[in-house]
Homo-oligomer: 116 residues x 2
DNA sequence: CGCGAAAGAAACGCTTGCGTAACGATCCGC
DNA sequence: GCGGATCGTTACGCAAGCGTTTCTTTCGCG
């Protein structure tokens, strides 16, 4: 089943999801942070700071800071790579998985309401 | 045509859209700002600071600041309401409409790629 | 009038994010 | 085992966002 959206459906979906998310969660992640979080959980590991920076097209400190913030929120974790101790591998957490699961539900919910 | 998404489709769509948006636009709007912007353009006017604050479940200064920022970016405009000069009505701009149009295209694009 | 209520902005101190640049730790080829 | 390259973090000065509180303007009703 391909996803085919009209412009009004696309923006309407984004609108209702953003609104619902803002109401439900006072943590106001930036678009960058959200993109990083989703990337970590949806793309097969391993993930490194450098890799994420390249993927997002941003500098490394941006990734470090985002990981600091989301790490403090418990959404991700970090660990040194034992095979190359210069690297840091980014690890998923139960809390992060839960967060995205709820976010996914929210999208589906709003998508269902969008045109029924 | 109702929108029906699987969890993996929902998060996958958000992932690719966030990623593409981050790459394409260095303005890193917060989720709140995006929600406000979408609300202004998708819901029939008039829009006021107070109304937006109630809709988003945030305080009035949050809206004032968001409008300051997005106003400076040219995405929205403000004008006093002549019938009740305490009110400010929020106005759309050509640039803002264009911004959202491009954003909608991006969603549709990514949605199409998502499962083909 | 006059005065409280309402709307939005401005002020305050604080936190968080930014880009650039510098820094320690680690790897690797010679 | 040393010197340059690579990886992630930290430091710095700055801009932007936050919540709370305090104006300023305007309304509306007695």
């Amino acid at each position: 089943m391909p996803i085919e959206l009209t412009p009004s459906q696309a923006l309407g979906l984004w609108h209702s999801v953003s609104l619902a998310q803002v109401r439900v969660d006072s943590r106001d992640l930036t678009l960058r942070q959200l993109a990083i979080l989703l990337h970590i959980y949806l793309v097969p590991p391993p993930h490194t700071v450098r890799g994420l920076a390249a993927t997002l097209g941003v500098t490394k400190p941006v990734i470090t800071r985002a990981l600091d913030t989301m790490g403090a929120l418990g959404l991700v974790d970090r660990a040194r790579d034992d095979r190359d101790r210069r690297n840091v591998v980014i690890k998923r957490t139960v809390e992060g998985a839960l967060y995205l699961e709820k976010f996914g539900d929210l999208i589906i919910d709003q998508g269902r309401k969008q045109l029924k």
